[in-house]
């Protein structure tokens, strides 16, 4: 026999490893970042242990070099905005492409699905840099697309696609697509396809079947996929740096800059927390609206 108190103690004992890892890997670093954001930047990087809110003001303001007054600056804000915009676009495009892809795979005969999933997963196991350079090879001025179009005589000079927001979005879309396909495929594979037949049988057109039966049933997968694409897009820095060529900075690049050449660790820390806040807010809004949609459909 065990008493309630014993069970309680055992429970905490069992949780200890998980709690330790969580503390070391998540809560601890987060705390350090918060503390750093309130310190003063060292001249050669690092921090000086003097309390300062400068970093936080710098997130949305600039300190004048000479008279040291603060004035509002949209330099960072425009980068925030671009990050959110491109991440949203990446998520939407990944969904528009990922959903039919997952549907296609889920409707193949079972023994052929693994093959198609493998095709989706292989790029995912490839180095991020290589994948990004592959996209670049396709759209750069001397790349596949431009060469073909010029050979065909459709254009006289190459279309500038690299170093644009389009390039960044395309790169991130390509890199993160598997993260959209996987969860949608998982919930679609679990879906009972006789429900689709039942809907057809009850006079639903293809579009109605999609809207009223398939989409509601794979919604958990679509929500998971969207989060899995949106969150890393928001913080991405390798892809924006290569595809944007330093002209299309995103939040990830801005943060990286502060810890590198910028030598402003407190600002980097403050920006990191801002990024985290944006992610949290976006997630809350998204999950809320997804839930509402659910109860709305019944």
């Amino acid at each position: 026999m065990t008493t309630d108190a014993q069970t309680e103690r055992n429970r905490w004992l069992l949780l200890t490893p998980a709690l330790t890892i969580l503390t070391l890997a998540a809560a601890g670093p987060l705390l350090i970042v918060v503390v750093y954001s309130f310190l003063t930047a060292g001249d050669y990087g690092g921090v000086v242990w003097t309390f300062s809110t400068d970093a936080w003001f710098s997130v949305i303001a600039e300190r004048d070099f000479f008279d040291e007054t603060l004035s509002f600056s949209d330099a960072h804000l425009s980068i925030f905005w671009r990050s959110v915009k491109l991440s949203l676009m990446t998520t939407v495009v990944a969904f528009l492409v990922g959903f039919p892809t997952a549907y296609f795979i889920a409707t193949r005969p079972p023994h052929k699905r693994d093959f198609w999933m493998l095709l989706i997963m292989v790029p995912f196991w490839t180095n991020l840099l290589i994948r990004t350079f592959a996209v670049m090879e396709i759209i750069r001025n001397e790349g596949v697309v431009n060469t073909v179009l010029m050979k065909l005589g459709l254009i006289d000079s190459p279309i500038q696609m690299m170093f644009t927001e389009f390039a960044v979005t395309l790169g991130m879309f390509y890199v993160f697509l598997p993260l959209m396909v996987l969860p949608i495929y998982a919930s679609m594979e679990r879906m009972d396809f006789s429900l689709v037949e039942a809907a057809y049988d009850l006079y639903a057109s293809r579009w109605k079947v999609l809207r009223r039966v398939i989409l509601p049933l794979v919604k958990p997968g679509a929500v998971a996929g969207s989060i899995l694409v949106f969150v890393p897009s928001l913080g991405a820095y390798v892809t924006p740096r290569i595809m944007g060529g330093g002209k299309q900075l995103m939040l990830g690049n801005l943060i990286e800059l502060q810890f590198g050449q910028g030598r402003n660790w407190p600002l980097g820390a403050a920006l990191s927390i801002t990024l985290l806040a944006i992610v949290m807010v976006a997630l809350i809004i998204y999950v809320r609206s997804a839930e509402n949609g659910e109860t709305h459909h019944g």
């Binding site: 009972d192 009850l202 019944g298």
Partner: protein, 356 residues
């Protein structure tokens, strides 16, 4: 009403091609309770799905009220299906499930509401209208599936083994309920089962299927009393098979000579019997025990008491064991003993000559 002519379905191509339906010809009438009966894998579901539009036949024609169906997608056919696993939409309530078909047809909200209410009453599910389908029992899901398929008032209702997932008692209840719904709505039911008893008790007519072909179509009594083929006789009910020689055959009546040398009258199958040695079928309850020197003589091997009736197992030379079934009467005295030599007789015309 439903006219099916020369319908075939071949799955796959080349070496892996498989003929699931072979030259199906059948006319299903208005308001009929029509049953497709056959063993597993004989093509019942494939035929039903061809009518619904989920299977594309390789050849043949299919019309409903003279209107070609094969060129139409499932959602354009005046046919609804009750799926074997019910296939209720898990993200909708009972009422939303039932109203789905009407909603897709673009009916006004007020009409949907009143039809759904009628349907809920019809299947006695009104108190559970707002439950999700995962929150009701198997039998209740079955009723909802029925109501959902009936709500758009289809001309034909297709039911693929709708009762197979239910336990015995509920199954009996739902059999009666289905018959009631069919007569109340006047809709043609095409019902699939591999349970011969279910087929016999519920159907107006039965099509017995085997390996993609229809062997025999007829009313339950017709099929039971006069099976045309050995397979049908064997599949439906219990039967004694006796080998005999065909003597004469005219107007559907055959004279056959039994191994005992005695001649008896039997019905010949539609299309005539083969000449020479034939097999005749005699139902156990159509035969009676009598004194030796009857149509067939043998030794009583076993007496099995079943409560409602008694089975006598009789062995005779060169024949499989013959079973005679006698209905038990109160206070009846058992005259026979195991080991006795007995005779078996049956009336002219109760025996049926079979095609192999």
């Amino acid at each position: 009403m439903i006219e099916i002519a020369g319908l075939s379905k071949i799955f796959g191509v080349g070496a892996s091609a498989f003929t699931a339906l072979e030259n199906i010809n059948v006319t299903i009438r208005e308001n009929e309770f029509f049953t497709l009966l056959g063993p597993s894998g004989c093509g019942k579901t494939t035929l039903l799905r061809s009518i619904a539009g989920f299977v594309n036949p390789s050849s043949g024609s299919l019309t409903v009220n003279g209107e070609d169906m094969l060129s139409k997608p499932p959602y354009a056919r005046p046919v609804n299906t009750v799926f074997q696993n019910y296939a209720l939409f898990p993200h909708m309530t009972v009422a939303e499930n039932i109203g789905f078909g009407l909603e897709m047809l673009g009916r006004p909200k007020s009409e949907i509401k009143s039809v759904v209410a009628d349907m809920l009453d019809l299947v006695q599910m009104a108190p559970m209208a707002d439950r999700m389908t995962s929150q009701i029992s198997g039998g209740q899901q079955q009723r909802v599936a029925l109501a959902r398929a009936l709500a758009p008032k289809p001309k034909v209702l297709l039911l693929d083994e709708p009762l197979s997932a239910l336990d015995f008692k509920l199954r009996k209840e739902m059999q009666i309920e289905l018959k009631r719904l069919q007569s109340e709505t006047g809709i043609t039911f095409v019902f699939v089962t591999h349970d011969q008893e279910e087929a016999l008790t519920m159907s107006d007519r039965i099509a017995v299927m085997k390996s993609g072909r229809i062997l025999q179509i007829g009313g339950p009594k017709d099929i039971y009393d006069h099976p045309a083929e050995r397979f049908v006789a064997d599949f439906i009910g219990d039967t004694n098979f006796v080998s005999a020689d065909l003597v004469t055959e005219a107007n559907g009546i055959a004279q056959v000579r039994l191994p005992s040398g005695k001649t008896v009258e039997a019905r010949s199958p539609a299309g005539g019997a083969q000449s020479g040695s034939v097999t005749i079928a005699v139902r156990p309850e159509h035969a009676v025990l009598s004194e030796p020197g009857a149509l067939i003589d043998g030794r009583l091997k076993n007496i099995v008491y079943f409560g409602t009736d008694t089975h006598y197992h009789i062995e005779s030379d060169g024949q499989p064991t013959f079973v005679v079934r006698r209905q038990n009467q109160p206070d009846a005295v058992e005259h026979h003993q195991v080991g006795d030599t007995v005779g078996i007789s049956f009336n002219s015309g109760t025996a049926q000559v079979l095609r192999d």
